[in-house]
């Protein structure tokens, strides 16, 4: 990466600058001890010039490094501030797509369940009813007409059973297929994670460059202010276990009961 090379060159030039200062200082002391004041003031002018040159060069390099870092953010600087073709913009689109995809998959899965559930419920109901009739038959409590009705009803049930289980199987298979969204969204999320990692690297780089700017120009950094967080703003699902996060419904219940719930 361009900016890290610049950093090495910067320290080299720092060393050169320090060496120049030391040489000049030695000569200056010599000149002063030997009462050569004209030489001494010449040396002081050289010192000034060398310091100015060093600052100019450093700032130039830092500007270059800053530019590189911004380019590495993959933001099209010409389009700034819209940045409509940046990878960040692209990542937002990907994430929106993940939301849409998971929503569609959840809805289609629930559609399937809503289709299947009444079929299973009807078959179950009919099976229970037939079982009761069947028990009567075994206890020889059915007359000829009852038996004829049971005979017909059993036949209908077996037909319903065949058709119903076919539909149930189709829906169950479809639900399995719907789970493919996990793979697809996972791939999109991985790409976004990759981008975030890159952006983090570039940000760290920028922070380092900014630190060098402060050093070269003699700007004292402002006192670092602690990040102020809104108290208890919503955060969404907790991914890592922390002490201040409950591990499940049981802990929620314990906490609430300790509060008198």
């Amino acid at each position: 990466m361009g900016s890290s090379m610049d950093t090495n060159r910067l320290s080299e030039s720092d060393e050169k600058f320090v060496a120049e200062l030391q040489d000049c200082a030695k000569l200056l002391i010599e000149s002063l001890q030997n009462d050569r004041f004209e030489d001494a003031s010449k040396l002081i002018r050289t010192l000034y010039a060398s310091r100015d040159r060093h600052i100019f060069q450093s700032v130039g390099r830092l500007t270059r490094a800053l530019h590189d870092a911004i380019v590495n953010f993959n933001v099209d600087v010409n389009l700034y501030p819209e940045a409509s073709s940046s990878e960040i913009r692209d990542a937002s689109d990907r994430l929106q797509y993940v939301i849409r995809m998971t929503q569609d998959a959840a809805n289609r899965t629930m559609d399937r369940v809503e289709t299947a559930a009444p079929i299973a419920a009807n078959l179950g109901q009919e099976a229970h009813a037939l079982k009761a009739e069947w028990e009567k038959l075994r206890r020889r409590e059915l007359n000829k007409d009852d038996f004829a009705r049971l005979y017909k009803r059993l036949n209908e049930f077996l037909e319903q059973m065949g058709e119903g289980t076919d539909v149930l199987n189709q829906n169950l298979q479809a639900i399995i297929l719907e789970q493919g969204f996990q793979d697809l969204t996972g791939q999109l999320l991985k790409k976004v994670i990759g981008l975030i990692t890159d952006v983090e690297k570039e940000l760290v780089n920028l922070v380092r460059i900014a630190g060098q700017v402060e050093e070269v120009t003699g700007i004292t950094p402002l006192e670092r202010t602690a990040k102020v967080r809104e108290p208890h703003s919503a955060e969404g699902p907790q991914i890592h276990a922390h002490a201040d996060v409950v591990k499940g419904q049981d802990e929620v219940d314990d906490l609430l009961s300790s509060l008198g719930f």
Binding site: M110, A234, D244, V246, L255, L256
Partner: protein, 124 residues
């Protein structure tokens, strides 16, 4: 029993609606955040509110505070169903007057338990 389900994700509303239907509660309506839910509650003789916490517009915790501050709605039972799982947040919800708190992801069994418990307490 008329129930309002408030969540910004339509799938979650649908899941809760389905679970409630299984529990025998068929009269449900939906809102996608506190801002749309509040006028519905004020005009609609609801018996029960199920709300998410994290929503754009008005959040669930703010909705809860508005409900408790409204004399007409103050005694409405409120169940929070949310992914927010910090102890401080649960305490905050309890202090704001929530009647039950369920963390996502949840099971039908947990939802049923909490609803039963709320009505047991409210009814008795």
């Amino acid at each position: 029993m008329k129930i309002l389900i408030v969540d910004d994700f339509s799938t979650m509303r649908r899941i809760i609606k389905n679970l409630l239907r299984d529990l025998g509660f068929t009269n449900t309506q939906e809102a996608d955040d506190g801002t749309t839910a509040l006028p519905m509650l004020r005009n609609g003789d609801f018996d029960f509110l199920v709300t998410d916490w994290n929503m754009p517009g008005m959040s669930g915790i703010d909705l809860l505070r508005h409900v408790r501050a409204d004399p007409k709605l103050a005694s409405l039972p409120v169940l929070m169903v949310t992914a927010e799982a910090k102890r401080d947040q649960i305490i905050e919800a309890a202090q704001a007057g929530v009647n039950g708190y369920v963390v996502k992801p949840f099971t039908a069994q947990v939802l049923k338990e909490k609803i039963d418990k709320i009505f047991e307490r409210v009814g008795g």
